[in-house]
């Protein structure tokens, strides 16, 4: 088969949705990290918050038969974890990266333990009793070419991801809350003298980040798939943090970075069918992460230099 015929099979319309679909869990993670980053808190615990959210969502959905309760409880769990981090960091002055990594390890261990304790399984848990997040199907679109392929049968949380990006963008850059958040992140002393309660702003940012992180996990286990697998986040939280850096904590720009990950992910999966060794496919997301981070760090260094020279 020629290169072009492979390419024409790989690069088709459904690749666009596949990329977006693969990107959504990372988009949620990136939004989770962006909110705290605006307050100058590096939420490296995104991965752990997500994993705990994913587990909570599956468990609550399994036992109650309600995906809504599953999602809500996942978000609640996310807030609890995020606030634990916030208290350690803000009140007791612990290093946020240390706490974040601690949370990540805890999440990995506790979900593994609970998987065994509750379901008596190792590795993965799936069941028809798990109610998943519904897909939005628009019947008349079935017959519309292009648009039908592109937009029909998205999961509810995939649509919500787009809404959330726009809402966060608006809140961070156009509202009082956002202005204060950015001021606190960039120069807390200035915010304090302006009469802003700096710590309250930080706690709030962490809580919102927890909500989004929990939702990210719920989407992963109930929307993106319909099961819980040990370490099922497989570094999507870290990729979200990388995308956050790429976008400078700007929700829209960070999400564009996530699409890059999603694209790399889904194109790799397709190429595998044509003989690309699976090891390369598995490597793909991490290689893209490194490339994206390298580019964004270089850009940041340049802008830091520019800022420095304008102060002199």
């Amino acid at each position: 088969m020629s290169f072009f015929s492979i390419m024409s099979k790989v690069l088709n319309l459904s690749l666009i949705y596949a990329s977006f679909r693969a990107a959504t869990p990372i988009i949620y993670a990136a939004l989770c990290a962006s909110v705290t980053q605006q307050a100058n808190i590096l939420n490296i615990g995104t991965e752990g918050i997500m994993l705990i959210g994913a587990f909570t969502a599956v468990t609550v959905s399994y036992f109650t038969g309600s995906w809504i309760l599953g999602v809500l409880c996942a978000m609640l769990a996310g807030v609890v974890i995020a606030l634990i981090m916030a208290v350690g960091h803000i009140k007791f002055g612990a290093d946020i990266c240390g706490i974040g990594m601690g949370i990540n390890m805890l999440a990995l261990a506790i979900t593994k333990f609970l998987l065994k304790a509750i379901y008596d399984v190792n590795g993965a848990f799936s069941s028809p009793q798990i109610k998943v997040i519904p897909k939005v199907s628009i019947p008349f679109l079935d017959n519309v070419p292009v648009i039908g392929t592109l937009l029909n049968n998205w999961s509810l949380t995939e649509w919500f991801a787009i809404i959330l990006i726009i809402v966060l963008q608006f809140f961070i850059f156009k509202t009082v809350w956002g202005l204060r958040l950015r001021a606190v992140g960039q120069f807390p002393e200035a915010a304090k003298t302006a009469g802003i309660k700096v710590n309250a702003v930080k706690y709030r940012a962490m809580a919102i980040s927890g909500l989004i992180g929990g939702l990210a996990g719920a989407h992963l286990s109930l929307g993106y798939s319909s099961q819980f697998i040990e370490n099922m986040t497989s570094s999507r939280g870290f990729m979200g943090v990388a995308a956050m850096y790429f976008g400078g904590a700007n929700p829209v720009k960070a999400s564009i970075g996530c699409l890059l990950f999603g694209f790399a992910d889904s194109i790799g999966a397709r190429l595998q069918a044509y003989g690309l060794p699976s090891q390369f496919v598995l490597m793909m997301p991490y290689i893209v992460t490194i490339v994206v981070l390298a580019i964004s760090m270089a850009a940041q260094l340049r802008s830091a230099k520019r800022r420095q020279s304008s102060l002199n």
């Binding site: 001021a183 200035a190 915010a191 003298t193 304008s310």
Partner: protein, 509 residues
């Protein structure tokens, strides 16, 4: 209601074991400019930060407009009409001027920030007090003088009628300072009360109605401007008279210690910031470099001391070509360096006075042997330095971050001068330090010269350059515009050269 808008009585404030304010007294009348003066570390900024609620007081009484205050937070101070312009600007550099001004009490329209209303509100103040600022520029894009006006507008927008300015002129050019004084006069005539913290007596004498003096945390009295003089204020500030004009002794000048030959250097943002500079320093002389800040002084010093790349030309120290050599090699050739910014380059603020004193020689005997620190030798040396240079507090185990500006600078000076190198580069050695320390640091430089060192002195204070130097070099936009003996220099002919004028300017003076 009493005649005062603010009264502070018997204030005591301690930080850890340091007593910053021991007996603080202050009051402010409506519509006056009241200066609060004292040496660095005298407690004047602390007093005003207490009033603004930045820290709680240990004991004492604060009365704002007749209301006896318990605990004060910045928000409570703002609500009662107190505004403060801090020494370090409290502006977020990546936000716009407008966003900074409204931060903390933003007008809203529904969910959104109402920037149109904010703009209209700010315009009123800009027009009323003629404080031109560019509302849509980011803070990182505007000048220091403009940033200060932004700070003043911020306080006015919050309804302040008591405005505290903490050493506002320290960062300004003389022209910008004049501009600030006009604004302060405007504010005063519209009924605002102003607290002006400073240690520059000429400015205080220019704009104050009343002056309060503090020394080492103690209140030293309040005087009307018309009833005092700079000499009287100086005595109150430091408890004795000082003579800043050191007796000059034109000693014998020896061989060339530093030879800078046609040096070209780039700065962070401009290529060729320094364009072909040549100068030399001989043993036993002080050569002063005068110029308006930012005309290449910092780059020149950095090029000589190995901190910045020399694009073209040569730097020779004690006969050795050290162009673009490492700092260690240049120091080894006989250079010592008092850097312009003690906090960024001169000290490790987290480390102790002792560690900072020995840091450049820690690999030499007697401070270490075979790579092992000799702490008793370091202690003995620190003991001696603390005594000789009158560094306070005398406990050399304290971190340098706990020192006042003047004492921190003494640590740097002690370290660099005590090595008795042939070449001493002193960059802004007395910037931001109090009068007592200024006098002592100047005497130290003079002593180094008498003992045969060559000193290159860079300073923004013309008076310092004139009174210390033997020979003066004036630079403007990276070039030397003139050179003269200190005996023929005065503020006029130097000033002309600093503006880039021809050497002929000297004859007009």
């Amino acid at each position: 209601m009493s005649e005062y808008v603010v009264e502070m009585k018997d204030i005591i404030k301690t930080f850890g074991q340091v007593q910053a304010v021991k007996n603080g007294q202050f009051n402010l009348r409506k519509g006056e400019i009241h200066s609060l003066i004292g040496e660095n570390g005298a407690g004047k900024s602390t007093m005003m930060k207490l009033l603004y609620g930045m820290y709680p007081i240990n004991s004492g009484e604060i009365i704002i407009k007749g209301e006896r205050m318990g605990e004060i937070t910045p928000m409570m101070a703002i609500e009662r009409g107190i505004g403060m312009v801090h020494q370090e600007f409290m502006l977020v550099s990546e936000l716009t001027v407008l966003e900074n001004i409204i931060l903390g009490f933003e007008p809203r329209k529904g969910l959104r920030l109402d920037l149109d209303k904010a703009r209209a509100d700010v315009r009123k103040y800009i027009e009323e007090y003629q404080m031109d600022v560019q509302l849509d520029k980011r803070i990182s894009q505007i000048s220091v003088g403009e940033a200060q006006r932004v700070e003043i507008i911020k306080t006015l927008m919050r309804g302040a009628d008591v405005i505290i300015l903490d050493e506002p002129t320290a960062v300004l050019t003389p022209q910008e300072a004049e501009r600030l004084f006009e604004i302060l006069e405007n504010l005063k005539s519209s009924g605002k009360s102003i607290v002006f913290i400073s240690h520059k007596l000429n400015e205080v004498m220019q704009i104050s109605d009343r002056i309060s003096v503090m020394r080492q945390g103690q209140y030293m009295g309040t005087v009307n401007k018309s009833e005092t003089s700079p000499l009287d204020l100086t005595k109150r500030m430091i408890g004795r008279e000082v003579f800043l004009n050191i007796e000059k002794d034109y000693g014998k000048v020896g061989e060339k210690i530093l030879d800078v030959q046609d040096v070209w250097v780039s700065s962070n943002k401009e290529t060729s910031k320094i364009r072909g500079m040549s100068l030399s320093v001989r043993a036993g002389e002080i050569v002063g470099v005068a110029g308006i800040d930012g005309n290449g002084q910092s780059e020149l010093v950095e090029a000589i001391t190995g901190l910045r790349k020399v694009e073209k030309g040569k730097v020779i120290v004690c006969g050795k070509d050290v162009t673009n050599k490492s700092v260690k090699v240049i120091r080894g050739a006989g250079m010592a360096h008092i850097p312009e910014d003690r906090n960024r380059m001169g000290l490790d603020r987290a480390m102790s006075i002792r560690d900072n004193l020995v840091t450049v020689r820690v690999d030499e005997a007697p401070f270490s042997k075979h790579g092992i620190l000799q702490l008793s030798a370091q202690d003995a040396y620190s003991e001696q330095m603390v005594k000789e240079f009158d560094i306070r507090p005398t406990d050399y185990h304290l971190p340098t971050s706990s020192l006042s500006g003047g004492n921190a600078q003494k640590v740097v000076v002690a370290r660099e001068v005590s090595m008795k190198k042939q070449l001493l580069i002193a960059s802004q050695p007395t910037r931001g330090v109090d009068i007592g320390a200024i006098e002592q640091i100047r005497n130290t430089l003079e002593k180094a010269k008498k003992e045969g060192s060559g000193v290159l002195l860079v300073s923004a204070e013309l008076e310092e350059i004139i009174s210390l130097s033997d020979r003066i070099i004036v630079i403007h936009e990276g070039k030397i515009t003139g050179e003269m003996m200190a005996s023929e220099a005065n503020e006029n002919n130097l000033g002309l050269l600093m503006m880039g004028g021809a050497k002929g300017g000297a004859e007009h003076a």
